[in-house]
Each structure stands twice: as structure tokens, then as C-alpha cells.
């Protein structure tokens, strides 16, 4: 199931990263100021939903990918590894959502 979760989150990330990059390019080329960007994101449930999905997909995808890296590079296995990647995933979700809510509120 972890493999399926990683594949599914990768599919979501492929779309999210593309939209995110296009948005960045648009914002920079259009010369939007920080105030103008906030003006578009604050109170926008659409952007809130999109970036929440983005953050959650990262929080699922990255820890699952980190598991074999820890084993293959550091020889780290067992429950302590699982606990570490779980904490890492929660941390990603927390930090990401903090950033998303900061531009929404």
C-alpha cells in the first residue's frame, strides 16, 4: 500500500508542481507585488484547496521515498526508522500547512 500511496501522490505532485511553476512564472513575468499576490490568495478557497492538496501529497510522497534511502545509505531499519519517517511526514505537513494558511488568512 505504501507503493500505491507513493505512486498516487506522485501523480498528484506532477500536476501540482506544473501548476505551481506556471503560477510562479506568471506572477514574476506579470510583475505582481507581494501585496497583489496576497490580494489573490487571501480568502481564496481555491488556492487554499490546491496548496493543501500539494502539501499533503508532499507529506505522503517524501517520507515513503525517504524510507529506502535511509536503509540503503545508512543501513537504518526497524521501528525507529518508521517513527522517524512518520515524524518527518508530520513535520512536512505542519510546515507546509503553516505556509499555506499564512497566505490564506
Amino acid at each position: 500500500m505504501l507503493w500505491l500511496a507513493q505512486r498516487a501522490s506522485a501523480a498528484v505532485l506532477a500536476i501540482c508542481v506544473t501548476v505551481h511553476l506556471v503560477t510562479i512564472v506568471y506572477a514574476v513575468r506579470g510583475g505582481l507585488s507581494a501585496a497583489e499576490i496576497f490580494g489573490r490568495t487571501r480568502g481564496s478557497t481555491g488556492w487554499l484547496a490546491f496548496y493543501t492538496l500539494f502539501v499533503l501529497a508532499c507529506a505522503v510522497h517524501a517520507p515513503i521515498g525517504l524510507r529506502p534511502v535511509l536503509t540503503e545509505w545508512l543501513g537504518w531499519r526497524g521501528r525507529s526508522r518508521e517513527a522517524f519517517v512518520l515524524v518527518f511526514g508530520v513535520l512536512l505537513a505542519w510546515l507546509g500547512m503553516r505556509a499555506v494558511l499564512a497566505v490564506f488568512r
Partner: protein, 238 residues
């Protein structure tokens, strides 16, 4: 073409060193010919392994100039760097002595991947009829000619990083059996090959497919296992 090959051969076990031999060079000479010349004409204490000499038994694989190969079908002309050859035992396996690698773990992993046919027919049943053009038969055919030489296992970086990983050959074997409509142990086999030591550990580097002397694609077999495991998991069977 130089008249003599300078051949460096691993001597010893896990600890050891390369020893240099000068071997006469001939047209159409194989790497196995070179090793045999050293043992029969220069140094009878050299240990190596071979049987059929025609690419069927899978026992003569070694590391030739850094690349795992079957030596009986590998021509010196195609792999020598100038007139130099470096021969070592297969990677990812303990060394018994000189060019002989211990393949026990390699074959134990076939067992762990449930690489044994589990027929479900009884004596009273008629012969199974499997259409040659059926998808299952073709999937099994694609991987069934494995000779168990260990080249893919030696070429696999994931094996070197994760000692529990079953490896390309064992997983390829599991896939051929899962594709075999006569076999009755699909679920047990899928359970055996799922997880951190199984097909999901594969990074799809395709070194196994690149190096397989039989031109099989264990990578494709492993991808098939991933799909089969996913389907079974979604159906709640695992």
C-alpha cells in the same frame, strides 16, 4: 592485435589481490578460454567454475573488466582494454576462492521468492492446455530462459545497498510462475515478493536488463510483479 594478453586475476577470498598472468592471444578466444589456459598451463591452483561452455549452465559468470558477464560466450576481442583483462569474482556474493563466488544466498532468495512451481492439477486431470499466444504464456515466455548465472544479481546496485533484497533473478522467476496458469500459489508468491525486500525495492536502474546475457528483462518482470501486487492489494487479497 597484440600476441599476448596481460590478465590480472583475483586471487584469495574476501581478502586477496590481483595477480598478473601473460596469456597467448588467439582469434575467437573467449574469456573462459583465458582462465582455463591460466589454470592448465600456468597456475593449477587457480579456482574457477564452469560446466557446459556453451551458455546454458550459468556457472562461469565473473566480473570482466568491471562488468559481470558469462565468460564462455564473451569474446576477449569485445571486452579487452587493448591487451588487458581484469578478472574478479561476481559482485554481491561472498568469495569462496579466487574467481568462485558463493551463490547460496542468491539461490536461497529464489526459495524466499517462492520460485518453485506449485501445480494445482491432480493426477486424474488432463494435460493443461496453454495457448502459445495467450498473454500469460507470452509473459512467462519472456522470462523463462533464465539460466541462473547471477550476472543480474551482481549488476544490481540495490542488492549491494539492501542485502535483504531478493534480486532480479528471483523476482523474474516469481513473475514467470505468477504468469503460469498451471501454478496455484500466486497469492503466497505475491506476499513473498511484496515489501521492502521484494519488487518494491527495485529502483528500475535496469542494470539487470542491460547485463543479462540471455537478453531477458528482469526489470519488466519486476514491473509486472508491482502491478500484480497492487491489484491484489486493492482487491483486499494480500
Amino acid at each position: 592485435m597484440s600476441a599476448t594478453l596481460q590478465v590480472s586475476v583475483w586471487r584469495g577470498g574476501a581478502e586477496g589481490a590481483l595477480q598478473r598472468y601473460d596469456v597467448p592471444r588467439y582469434p575467437s578466444q573467449t574469456v573462459l578460454d583465458v582462465v582455463t589456459h591460466i589454470q592448465r598451463r600456468i597456475d593449477p591452483t587457480l579456482a574457477y567454475r564452469y560446466a557446459c561452455r556453451v551458455g546454458m549452465c550459468g556457472s562461469c559468470a565473473m566480473t570482466v573488466n568491471g562488468v559481470p558477464r558469462w565468460t564462455c560466450r564473451t569474446h576477449v576481442d569485445k571486452v579487452a582494454t587493448g591487451s588487458e583483462l581484469e578478472l574478479r569474482p561476481l559482485r554481491n556474493m561472498p568469495v569462496i576462492r579466487d574467481l568462485v563466488a558463493d551463490m547460496r544466498e542468491f539461490f536461497d532468495k529464489w526459495e524466499r521468492a517462492k520460485g518453485r512451481f506449485e501445480g494445482r492439477a491432480r493426477k486424474s486431470d488432463d494435460f493443461a492446455r496453454v495457448a502459445p499466444d495467450s498473454p500469460e504464456r507470452q509473459a512467462a515466455d519472456a522470462g523463462i530462459e533464465c539460466i541462473g548465472c547471477g550476472v543480474c544479481y551482481a549488476a544490481c546496485d540495490v542488492v549491494s545497498w539492501n542485502r535483504d533484497y531478493l534480486g532480479p533473478a528471483a523476482l523474474n522467476r516469481a513473475w514467470t510462475l505468477i504468469s503460469d496458469v498451471r501454478d496455484g500459489a500466486t497469492l503466497e508468491r505475491l506476499r513473498a515478493v511484496a515489501g521492502d525486500a521484494g519488487c518494491h525495492a527495485c529502483h528500475t536502474h535496469t542494470s539487470c536488463t542491460e547485463r543479462c546475457p540471455r537478453h531477458l528483462s528482469p526489470t519488466a518482470s519486476i514491473a509486472g510483479l508491482k502491478r500484480a501486487v497492487a491489484k491484489a492489494a486493492l482487491a483486499g487479497k494480500l
